[in-house]
């Protein structure tokens, strides 16, 4: 992204676009061809794997977007896990209390946002080390949810799939893309929206300026503290939504530590995607795909391999792809450095 901090948008340059996104495009093409071939052999399984891919990737990309907003504005967020966990818990107990899924989801988002506010307070106002700030949030969320959760609490129902009219009847694409529960749809929109906001709006330009060179941004009249607060809180909303997805759309109940490291995985997806919404989405889809794929393979049961080796697959693949194709990633220049006004 070198140099883009000073431009709102740039003229489209095909050569440069290919050079930058060639690997990603190649992978996308490969996946499309592979799924077409797979579909011709076993249509049902292919559809199941692709649909599961999307579902598994949803909390990861939402968490990655949470980290991304913060880091683009210069605030490292390793508290995604905690924000997700508290979001999941608050969404769950709110739904249990008022028996309204929408209110539950909104409460989850609010919980994430409040922890975002707390992180911003620690890193922007107190100028605390941001790794510590994130860790405080993780432990706090783990402690609070564990302390207040009572065994046997349960909720009625969860978010159901909404088929999008005739689109849902299309072969393969229909069931995979157009027959999903609401948060999955919203997530797809949020990925596109985030890309647009970050790279094609004034808000995004200011956010990136604050993350790359806060002094320069301050000089031209951008309120560095406000931008950092706002973006970290927006990020918190995304993590809270991811939490609500887990309890109210995916599972339909709550357990202690139920995010199970997905917040940390999301952090990895953000770096993997080089601090880009679309890149992080691709990374999340890749991990989601390996999850779905290994589940299908275990279902088949014809291959005599211990299940733990399938379990390793997503993580090994991430390492291989990262080491082999992606390589060094550069975070925003002022990432993690508190800004001192002169």
């Amino acid at each position: 992204m070198e140099g883009t901090a000073v431009r709102v948008s740039e003229r489209f340059d095909t050569r440069r676009f290919l050079r930058r996104n060639g690997v990603a495009l190649g992978i996308v093409l490969l996946v499309l061809v592979a799924s077409a071939i797979a579909y011709s052999i076993t249509p049902q399984r292919t559809g199941a794997v692709l649909a599961a891919t999307l579902r598994a990737s949803t909390p990861l990309i939402l968490g990655a977007l949470c980290g991304l907003y913060g880091e683009r504005a210069g605030v490292i967020n390793i508290g995604i896990e905690g924000q997700m966990l508290l979001g999941a818990f608050v969404a769950f107990i709110t739904h249990a209390a008022v028996n309204n899924l929408l209110v539950g989801v909104l409460a989850g988002i609010l919980a994430g946002a409040i922890l975002g506010l707390f992180l911003a307070f620690m890193s922007v106002t107190l100028k605390m080390d941001q790794i510590i700030g994130g860790t405080v949030i993780n432990i706090l969320a783990f402690g609070l949810t564990g302390y207040f959760y009572q065994q046997g609490m349960s909720i009625q129902g969860k978010l159901q799939a909404i088929p999008l009219g005739p689109l849902a009847d299309l072969p393969l694409i229909g069931p995979v893309l157009f027959n999903n529960p609401p948060i999955t749809y919203i997530t797809l929109l949020l990925v596109a929206l985030s890309h647009y906001v970050l790279f094609f709006t004034r808000w995004g330009l200011r956010t990136r300026a604050v993350g790359e060179h806060p002094r320069a941004a301050d000089t031209v009249g951008i309120n560095v503290y406000f931008m950092r607060y706002a973006n970290v809180i927006i990020g918190g909303c995304f993590a809270g939504l991811a939490g609500a997805f887990i309890t109210l759309e995916q599972v339909g109940s709550f357990e202690r530590m139920m995010t199970n490291g997905r917040g940390f995985l999301a952090l990895a997806m953000m770096i993997f995607g080089k601090w880009n919404p679309l890149g992080a989405w691709g990374a999340s889809l890749l991990i989601g795909f390996t999850y779905a794929f290994q589940t299908q393979l275990q279902f088949l049961g014809t291959i005599n391999i211990p299940p733990q080796f399938f379990g390793m697959l997503p993580y090994l693949l991430t390492i291989i792809v990262l080491a082999g194709f992606v390589g060094r990633a550069r975070p925003p220049a002022a990432d993690g450095i508190p800004y001192e006004k002169e």
Partner: protein, 366 residues
């Protein structure tokens, strides 16, 4: 005036200055915890009394506190040591369980060794396994540029799955009727005993902490590690082997974590069983930060966390308070220790000059 200026008073003032913030933070956190307990309908006095009785009440309680603190010193050291080179090792958990399973394997497979050979051998084996597993993210970082935060997180999952497979497959306890995924119990000769209520493992942990301190501030390698952590470009310009330093740091960090897993297996659990040491590696992050990433600061931090973990079951038993309140209190302690400005304002003390903790600059360096 003469009393105020005497050297004794000066030393006392210094100790007060560096200890006042952690102590104040603990008190403040306990206070906030008490409010939380009151809100949820529990008695804070009863809860804290049980917590104290469970952690320091008698010799057995103190022994339990030291037992809990031992692996935490190791995992805290692992994370703190990597921070010194600007590396964030979230993978202490994975390195720790590799150390634990290796120590268990050496502990039950070899028979007939004298204790003075068997136990150290198993301990070293575990440490070495942790070191090898820790070196992988270091190599990936230097040779391919893969970020250690991602690779260590991913390798945690690999380690969990792989050790789970071992405990379910080739290393499974063959005792008839056993359906649990676990290794057989280790031989008596591989056990690390305790001296009264002081586990020898804890003494080893103290020695490793001291050795780490010595390595960092009294050797050339330590100097290189700290320079790479503060400014890799300058380190490279000065002719230091940055890549080698990174790999070495990660390997040593993994060694410490692996040793923690091995000590836990050989001194307490007596076998490897998946799920038995979950969280020890992640607690390492908290402890490293509470100890200000200083190898000697890790010791009181681990003791504090160990004491709270040791006393929490007593608290649950006596006062019917869920053990997770401990984590809430820990988070608040960490917050106040790190938010020095608030604590200094409350306590009206001045800042002590110390090496600045710089963690987040390591994010995009190298």
């Amino acid at each position: 005036m003469t009393v105020r200026n005497s050297p004794v008073a000066e030393v006392a003032r210094r100790i007060w200055r560096s200890a006042s913030i952690p102590l104040g933070s603990v008190l403040l956190a306990l206070l906030i915890g008490a409010i939380l307990l009151l809100i949820s309908g529990a008695s804070p006095l009863e809860a804290y009394r049980a917590l104290f009785r469970g952690s320091f009440g008698d010799a057995r309680a103190i022994g339990r506190t030291l037992e809990k603190a031992t692996p935490l010193v190791f995992s805290g050291l692992a994370v703190a040591f990597a921070f010194k080179a600007g590396l964030f090792n979230i993978g202490a958990q994975g390195q720790l369980i590799f150390g634990a399973v290796t120590a268990a394997a050496i502990g039950f497979m070899i028979e007939g060794l004298p204790p003075l050979v068997h136990a150290p051998l198993a301990l070293l084996g575990g440490a070495l396994a942790g070191a090898l597993f820790g070196a992988i993210p270091g190599m990936l970082k230097t040779y391919t540029g893969a970020h250690e935060v991602i690779t260590t997180i991913m390798l945690n999952y690999v380690a969990i799955n792989f050790t789970d497979y071992l405990a379910n497959g080739p290393l499974k306890d063959p005792t008839p009727g056993n359906i649990v995924a676990r290794t057989p119990a280790i031989e008596a000769s591989a056990r690390i005993p305790a001296l009264g209520s002081i586990p020898i493992g804890f003494i080893i942990a103290l020695a490793v902490a001291a050795a780490t301190w010595w390595l960092l501030w009294h050797t050339t390698i330590g100097y290189e590690i700290r320079t790479v952590g503060l400014n890799p470009a300058a380190a490279r310009y000065a002719g230091m082997r940055v890549s080698l330093t990174i790999i070495l740091t990660m390997a040593l960090s993994g060694l410490m974590a692996g040793m923690g897993g091995a000590v836990e297996t050989l001194g307490i659990v007596g076998r490897f069983q998946p799920g038995f040491n979950v969280g020890l590696g992640f607690d390492g992050i908290t402890i490293a930060l509470l100890g200000k990433t200083h190898p000697l600061g890790v010791i009181p931090a681990a003791l504090l966390v160990g004491a709270m973990r040791a006393g929490s079951s007593q608290m649950q038993f006596d006062a019917n308070v869920a053990t997770e309140i401990i984590d809430v209190i820990l988070a608040i302690i960490l917050f106040f220790v790190a938010a020095e400005t608030i604590m200094r304002w409350i306590l009206r003390t001045r800042a002590v000059s110390e090496e600045k903790v710089t963690l987040s600059t390591g994010w995009g360096q190298q």
